[in-house]
Amino acid sequence: MTNQPLLEVRDLQTVFELDEGTVKAVDGVSFDVYPGRVLGIVGESGCGKSVTIKSVLRLIEEPGRIANGAIRFRSKILGNSSAEMVDLVQLPAKSAQLRALRGNEIALIPQEPMAAFSPVHTIGNQLMEVIQLHQPVSNEEAKKIAVNRLKEVGVPNPEGAMDRYSWELSGGLRQRAMIGMALTCDPLLLIADEPTTAIDVTTQAQVLSLLRKLQQEHQTSIIFITHDLGVIAQLADDVVVMYLGKVMESGPVDQIFHNPQHPYTRALLRSIPTVHTKNRSRLPTISGSIPHPFQKRSGCPFVARCQEALPQQKCANQAPVLKAINEHQSVSCFLHQGGGNVS
């Protein structure tokens, strides 16, 4: 990780102003994405992982807005030199620069490919459209590129698939075609929003191994969002653990899984059943449930469920900030801030 990050998110805050009150869906999130590495963002419902990537893509719509923070991206199109980073938050919404960035340098693989493809155009048409939108090529060439992409993502009989409609394909093939479409312009950053949640486990394995293969071949950076710790362990290089809009812990995948420092990460890892769990044993649980986002709270968002909370209500009254505890790993917890290292 000696090289410079491709994407720097600093203190990002995205709020939604609803009738019921203001919801800080993302509350001071910071992380880096390095070239050629996979960043996994893991968290449960309401943790703000989807809003985070929507903010990065600048797809937040009313009543939501980015209230604070910076999203710096090392763009080849927009930057003057390779050292300069463009703050996406500063770009006007719906600007031509943002549009050029999305699709060309940052591409999205959505959760539900069925909704992302138009049902009235063939897969081939849509692929060619995207190619020609970003590259000045003839129909012939665009078609050739599209077929190659489909071949690359492992769609059997790619020429035939070009003339099919998205609803004629199976879930797995549709997701492959979607990945093919996201890759058409060789993006620098690929954002995958729970791309395997809607599909079966054997198909998920296919998609994951395809993503890993493509990532290695193209050296693309990936932000991968999921609630499944297994998927994260299999795919990610670096991990960001989120809870209620805040980063609890971030670091290299091996550290997160084998040397977790935040009580939430530790509890989460203990509480998930795995195929290795001893049969009919009781799992250690995290008590309570995720608080409602409308609830106003001070202090650490996890405090009500934390078994290691400090005495004298410190965790409940004061919010810890994300701090590096070593070269790679950062934790947002008082146990590691002045309280000495607990491991």
């Binding site: 449960e44 419902s45 199976s170 879930g171 797995g172 093939l173 079966d200 486990v201 054997t202 198909t203 998920q204 394995a205 296919q206 994951l208 191994s209 609630h227 499944d228 710790l229 297994g230 998927v231 994260i232 362990a233 299999q234 990610a236 995948v253 091996d254 899984f257 084998h258 509890a267 989460l268 890892l269 509480s271 998930i272 059943p273 795995t274 195929v275 290795h276 769990t277 049969n279 009919r280 044993s281 009781r282 799992l283 250690p284 649980t285 995290i286 008590s287 449930s289 995720i290 409602h292 469920r305």
Partner: protein
Amino acid sequence: MSVESTQSKLTANTPMPPERLLDVKQLKKYFPIRKGFFKSVVGQVRSVDGVTFHLNQGETLGLVGESGCGKTTTSRCLLRAINPTSGEIRYRQADGQLVDVTKLASDELRPLRREMQMIFQDPFASLNPRMNLLDLVGEPLLVNGVANRKERSDRVADLLRLVGLRPEYMRRFPHAFSGGQRQRIVIARALALNPRLVVADEPVSALDVSVQAQVLNLLLDLQEQLKLTYLFVAHDLSVVRHISDRVAVMYVGRIVEMSPTDELFLAPKHPYTAALLSAVPVADPRIRSKMQPLEGDVPSPSNPPSGCHFHPRCPFATELCRQQAPDLEEVQPNHFVACHRQAELSLLGVSEPT
């Protein structure tokens, strides 16, 4: 011919081993595909296509498979939530009498429904949002003759306590609760009539990871406390491993393997089971699976492949597999496999943690 031979073995009068609660034989559910103005039947979706298994009293049988394999349809047939096309579901009632659930008229089902209950996947959809907890959990009591309001609310309070909710919540409506709490309400309602068999259809897959363990532990506790028998339907193998005594794996309407849990996970005998196990992402970055993922997609139950339904994706398929469907056979005590080549294959299961 294979079907005939199996059927001849099980006439309705064969005695059921005493430890058995439920015996399912050759259960089938076909959904007709209708087309055109006159809605004529043009085909069949063989959602459940000859499923045979049993449930022992007090155990948990995990029923796993990918979407469209027929596991949910199977579970709903057991409760006659949908009517099976054919087959036999013999159930031992609390009084020891054997009944064939498939043969009962709909008005005869009522006493049986006290003994069999269901927990649904989505706790947001399975609770009527217009009823408070007292009415929701108390409804089974009310319609089964507990007319006294005081008696009912006492029982509801007990049930809420049993599932770890505060009885003071009785006047609240479901919208006041989180997913995990709602699933507890669903469980309380299912337990209201002291059932003996509980069919749990993916009870934790809609819940957050940090809440799943709570509900799983609750289910295990309740089973010990109340001597319940579970049919646990799930697609998540980790959850199934955790909770089941035995596991049955379904693929396109058929059971391909059924055995005690550890045996199935450590030494699977059907290539599909092995593939399924290897496809589960392990939550450990140091064990990154090297296995080639299974090719192709799950076939549609309206047009399944010939012979063994798994043969187009099976790396070990032979001509025989293409032509003839294998029977589900007991190859070791309590280990059933439907594969022509099970004896020759040695397949990898999950590696035990070190």
